[in-house]
Assembly symmetry: C2
Homo-oligomer: 181 residues x 2
């Protein structure tokens, strides 16, 4: 395997839960170039399937694109935490609901050009409403429950534009790559 060899780290930004390096690297060709590398903890996301088959989404302002978006619940895995524990915790914080049954449906790298992040996507059933459904996160502005037809329309209109949400919905609803199916 050909590798890119790190020569030095030129600059670093340290944030609370991850950091970003600008590295000078040498390619196998000998050319020296630079790489941004976001050293990101792994993350977990959940497609919460309610008893009637509809999906619970969160509305959230995203500073990255300066827009409010419609996404499945997700969050960064804390040090030492396992992905399932992470998504149970994040789901409760973001929605006030809890999830009983989790099934891992995909593990992938969202931004392979510059981030080490690996994202675990779960399908969740046994979604239990807690009293009052209190959302303890101040980053979630609202919850939204969508049917398949709503989802289809929101995808085709470009309203659902978040990568993990799209890939989770495709994997769940339209997985023509699935083994034994």
């Amino acid at each position: 395997m050909e590798k890119e060899k790190k020569l030095r780290t030129v600059a670093t930004i340290r944030a609370r839960s991850f950091s970003v390096n600008l590295d000078e690297v040498e390619l196998p060709s000998g050319r020296v170039t630079e790489r941004i590398r976001v050293i990101h903890p792994d993350a977990a996301a959940l497609v919460p399937i309610l008893e009637d088959g509809r999906i619970l989404f969160v509305k959230q302002f995203r500073y990255s694109i300066k827009e409010e978006t419609l996404e499945i619940p997700a969050g960064k895995i804390d040090p030492g935490e396992d992905p399932e524990a992470c998504i149970r915790r994040e789901f409760k914080e973001e929605t006030g609901y809890t999830v009983r049954n989790l099934e891992l449906i995909l593990k992938y790298v969202p931004a392979i050009g510059y981030s080490s992040e690996v994202l675990f996507i779960y399908k969740g059933t046994g979604i239990i409403s807690q009293k009052g459904n209190l959302v303890s996160s101040d980053e979630i502005s609202d919850l939204k429950i969508l049917s398949f037809d709503d989802i289809r329309s929101y995808i085709n209109k470009g309203i659902i534009k978040d990568g993990k949400t799209l890939i989770a919905l495709y994997t769940l609803y339209c997985n023509c790559f699935k083994k034994d199916g």
Copy 2:
């Protein structure tokens, strides 16, 4: 719409084609927190469909995850360049092939938690082999042509793990959200 208000930029890294800021922001709740924001140019990717229906992939070492991956060709859009021109240029650089017909199949945000990047995914037909198929990019180690069965197997084994590649293949092959289909 509730917004996150930028108070100040705490740190910045400037790379050749994009930059990263660590910003201090105030949430609608009044809480002050921090956001990493990768200010990334938009990007374009292509699913190159050969005449026999198989797909052309690139093999590439990814510094982000320190692994060699199998991906569809893609690249960052240069300032002033349109997405179609970008993917024609990148495709030729990365594979030595050219593409005649482009159809936009998806536009999405790959890493919404920390990056402004928007990715345009095209389906490409009329793939023409140039003499010798000279790859002018020193970041591509090999080309690989895969059938649907190969792709299915590589996805199920976790060998194809790149987000844009997965979402492109799902959109192309298994799009149960498609209008009029």
